[in-house]
Symmetry: C2
DNA sequence: CGTGTGGGTATTGTATACAAAACGCGCTCG
DNA sequence: CGAGCGCGTTTTGTATACAATACCCACACG
């Protein structure tokens, strides 16, 4: 993507995730153009991407708002991600080359190093984790699958929870990745799928624990515009 | 979406699917602006959507081409659709109201009528079929799932194969839908999932039979730009 | 009171002009 | 002969002005 619209994308994303605006707030293209320092044209392009990723939503009359995710929304995203990424692991197990498996091992060594620092370097962990999962998705060799997952992977992770992981949580992640590599080395697609499944499902529960208990009723149905 | 960019979207889509251009051909924004009769701004918006749907692809230097799907690409889309739509059926089974189930029955009566005409009215069938599947996805009550499926559902169906269905194929579809409705009425999520799975997998084989035998090697890997 | 209607303001949508980047092609120089 | 360079042309990217639409508030009318 081109320079200005990429910059706008990153800036707006940071602005929204950084918490300078609250969920449900309205944003205007002019405002965002000022913040990002580019004109409305690339801003509109960036906004489209962020809508795709569901960080921003439009009202029925095309006004723009910061999305407001319920806990149920987030659980559903984890479920979908699990479904798709298990499939990716299965395909990857059949396709990874010896070199690619070695690369995964290296990534997980990096991840482990980040975890075993004291204190653990969460940013470094997250980057290694992202790279690890991305490598698997790449190896699945399915552009569609990659595209679908792109919308699901970053968003929940980034949702303020990053710093709530305990060192034990992080260590367990590293162990899961080790087992995943073992499954790949054995070319055992079923094993890979199962490990990926428990890995992601545990991630959901870690997340859920951090975010608080399940909401009573109030599963917000259709579009989530302002309050 | 707004008028001009919607018009552009429909026109470009028709232009590509109508076969006025070959897979792999380059398109330019100016060209498309002329064809659609709007300026490049809404054309660019429309093109983004079509890129998302993978009908168009960009080269590494942002030139625009008509996508060229291999048989393997299409099989993978069916697999993904099956995975997601089975999930939708499962969720729908738990959520459909009595009225919604009645609505599905009505849609399938319409579909059956289209099939039992002689000759069968394929366009009418496709429309009823689309509405039936959409109603299920709606009932699953997951905006993310809906969004992901939107990219997978229309595209392969539309790919010239529509007219290759035999009357038996169409009848079997209608029967599948009947069974799906029965599963919903029984609130049996496992049954619904299983029926949806076989329904879509059979659709793939019908498609595959029409399109010809499996290709030997040559699974096109990365982006599918021109020859 | 409540409802709806008007018009000024805010916001999004489209066209167009210009800037930046990529392509193609002929040329030079090893 | 072939690889690399320069430069005009094509194509995409960005800014900006203007058009269309939605919003908001005040006021009239039932």
């Amino acid at each position: 993507m081109s320079r200005a619209s990429e910059r706008a994308y990153a800036a707006i994303r940071a602005h929204v995730l950084g918490g300078s605006v609250a969920a449900g707030d309205q944003l205007t293209e002019d405002q965002l153009a000022q913040i990002t320092g580019v004109s409305r044209t690339p801003v509109r392009e960036a906004v489209r991407r962020l809508e795709d990723e569901l960080l921003l939503v439009r009202s029925d009359t095309n006004r723009l708002f910061v999305a407001d995710w319920s806990r149920d929304d987030i659980e559903e995203m984890f479920v979908l991600r699990q479904m798709l990424e298990c499939h990716a692991a299965e395909r990857a197990a059949k396709r990874l080359s010896r070199e690619q498996i070695a690369a995964l091992e290296a990534l997980n060594r990096e991840l482990t190093a980040a975890v075993e620092q004291s204190p653990p370097d969460v940013a470094r962990f997250l980057e290694a984790n992202r790279a690890f999962h991305e490598a698997i998705i790449d190896a699945a060799h399915s552009p569609r699958l990659r595209q679908l997952l792109a919308r699901l992977v970053e968003a929940p992770v980034v949702l303020r929870t990053a710093r709530t992981y305990s060192q034990d949580d992080l260590r367990q992640s590293a162990r899961d990745h080790d087992e995943l590599v073992a499954a790949f080395a054995a070319r055992d697609a079923d094993w890979a799928r199962a490990v990926m499944g428990s890995h992601l499902r545990r991630a959901f529960h870690t997340f859920a624990r951090a975010v608080g208990p399940k909401t009573e009723g109030a599963a917000n149905d259709r579009d989530g515009a302002e309050p």
